[in-house]
């Protein structure tokens, strides 16, 4: 029986590697992901320096039309996070389609992992957009096409995650989740267009969006932010995917265990000679 939680008797607390590169023996980190994470941490610090200190505020001679001052700095984080959330849901949709086509477990795990990371990024997109909107528009919320469809996207994928929690059988769950993951992404452009038309009927002037003419260090901060945040998404996905994989392994094991127990019970209930034969064969 290998059901003991403590596992084999190797020296468990040391892990592999040394110094900053030491990896926890039970964790989802590997040497590669740790190196990647360290590089990412340095890049993040550099990004914060560029975004908050080194790049100039949006005012003065070369300021854009709607002169946003220091507020322009919110864009450097808002736009990359928004791109990461769409990337995450694109990965979920592609992985869902691939699952329906190939029917291999890995695609389902990838779709699930990416959806959860995507929900976190979507929530951050809405929060930073709302903070920007509060000072630029004077309200925390504006029923504009992009904001509204992003909010619906968040609810759609919360539903996707809820569905995954609700179905117990792994294969049935994978199939149903794949259909929902694909449908939710197909729905995004329809929602966007309908909200867009809906709004254009009710108001004459459109609200000025994030469209300042940025250049120089400001443009660099924005592009750098995009690269860093997408890399952050990849790093989070490495850990989240391994977690999903480990959960699936454990689930399969638990299922095997439950099946074995059920079979043992059934065998115990059977009359004598047949029970003996079954025990002998298994």
């Amino acid at each position: 029986m290998n059901a003991q939680p403590s596992g084999p008797a190797v020296a468990r607390d040391t892990g592999t590697g040394a110094g900053l590169l030491r990896v926890h023996p039970d964790g989802t980190a590997s040497r590669g992901s740790r190196v990647f994470g360290l590089v990412l941490a340095v890049a993040l610090a550099a990004f914060l320096a560029f975004a908050l200190v080194l790049s100039p505020a949006d005012r003065g001679a070369t300021a854009s039309e709607n002169e946003m001052g220091d507020l322009v700095r919110i864009m450097y984080v808002h736009v990359p996070v928004a791109i990461a959330c769409y990337l995450a849901f694109l990965v979920t949709a592609v992985a869902s389609a691939a699952y329906l086509w190939k029917r291999t477990e890995g695609w389902d795990l990838l779709a699930a992992a990416s959806a959860e990371v995507g929900v976190v990024f979507t929530a951050l997109t809405l929060a930073t957009g709302s903070i920007w909107g509060h000072i630029a528009w004077g309200t925390w919320w504006e029923w504009d096409a992009r904001l509204t469809s992003t909010l619906l996207l968040l609810v759609l994928y919360l539903g996707y995650l809820a569905l995954r929690r609700a179905v117990l059988d792994p294969v049935v769950r994978a199939k149903r989740a794949a259909v929902v993951g694909l449908v939710a992404f197909v729905n995004v452009p329809i929602v966007h267009y309908s909200v867009d038309w809906w709004r254009s009927l009710h108001q004459t002037a459109t609200i000025s969006r994030f469209d300042p003419s940025i250049d120089g260090l400001k443009l660099f901060a924005l592009l750098f932010g995009m690269v860093v945040v997408q890399a952050l998404y990849v790093w989070l996905m490495i850990h989240r995917f391994r977690l999903q994989y480990a959960e699936a392994q454990l689930e399969a094991k638990g299922l095997d265990l439950a099946l074995a127990e059920r079979r043992a019970e059934a065998v115990a209930d059977l009359p004598g000679p047949l029970a003996g034969a079954q025990k002998g064969s298994s």
Partner: protein, 233 residues
């Protein structure tokens, strides 16, 4: 192979009509729609009036939105009924094992729900005319909007109904999954109705177009995805 395609289409439609006939007979015997869902929809109309104002002007202006909200809430009830009764009796299993074409089963279920929804909308239409005093000025647009929106709601509803069938948390999960997906239907149908009740410019047919695209898209998705959803593990 046009001959084979035609034969396949014939089988699909025959299976669809079989499933539709079964669902309509089921409704005829139990009368859940007439005795529960329709009264619920009328009740929602009355509650809207309590919440807003007894003033006819406010209600009249809000009629398109209130009408479609009432339809959406009642759709949820109808779906939970249509798929709950099957999961309880294991009918999903027998449908799967019956050898019927999955696309046919999907079209049949969707048609059954569409019939329910059309009946519901007729009652609600009479209801808003009496309670809210709204009179439509573009009957053709009104009818076309109802048909296109019904097709879209029935297609998405059948897809998500079978998807959440047989779960313990179905009653709470289905609204969460379904309502964000049908949000465009609510927007488009409301705007088309507003045009039909002559409160905005002639944008109504554009919204009807969106509803038609939505319905066709989800009918296609349902036809292709239903086989995957019906098979268990």
């Amino acid at each position: 192979m046009p001959a084979a395609d035609a034969a396949g289409l014939g089988t699909t439609l025959r299976d669809a009509s079989l499933v539709l006939g079964k669902d309509l007979r089921l409704e005829w015997r139990s009368r859940v729609l007439v005795s529960q869902v329709v009264p619920f929809a009328v009740l929602v109309l009355v509650l809207f009036a309590f919440a807003l104002d007894p003033d006819r002007r406010v209600l009249d202006e809000a009629t398109p939105g209130l009408f479609w909200l009432a339809v959406l809430f009642s759709t949820l009830l109808a779906l939970q009924r249509a798929f709950g009764v099957e999961a309880a009796d294991g009918v999903t299993d027998s449908l799967r094992l019956s050898g019927l074409d999955p696309a046919g089963i999907f079209l049949g279920k969707a048609a059954g729900i569409a019939v329910h929804l059309v009946a519901l909308q007729v009652v609600l239409g009479v209801g808003v005319t009496i309670f809210y005093g709204s009179t439509p000025r573009g009957p053709l647009l009104l009818v076309c909007t109802c048909l296109a929106a019904t097709a879209g709601l029935a297609a998405v509803g059948s897809l998500y109904g079978v998807l959440s069938a047989g779960m313990r948390v179905r009653d709470t999960l289905l609204p969460l999954l379904l309502l964000p997906v049908v949000a465009p239907v609510l927007i488009a149908a409301t705007e088309a109705f507003a045009a039909a009740y002559d409160r905005t410019s002639g944008e109504g047919w554009r919204w009807f177009g969106l509803l038609a695209v939505f319905a066709l898209l989800y009918l296609a998705i349902g036809i292709f995805a239903f086989e995957t959803l019906l098979e268990e593990s």
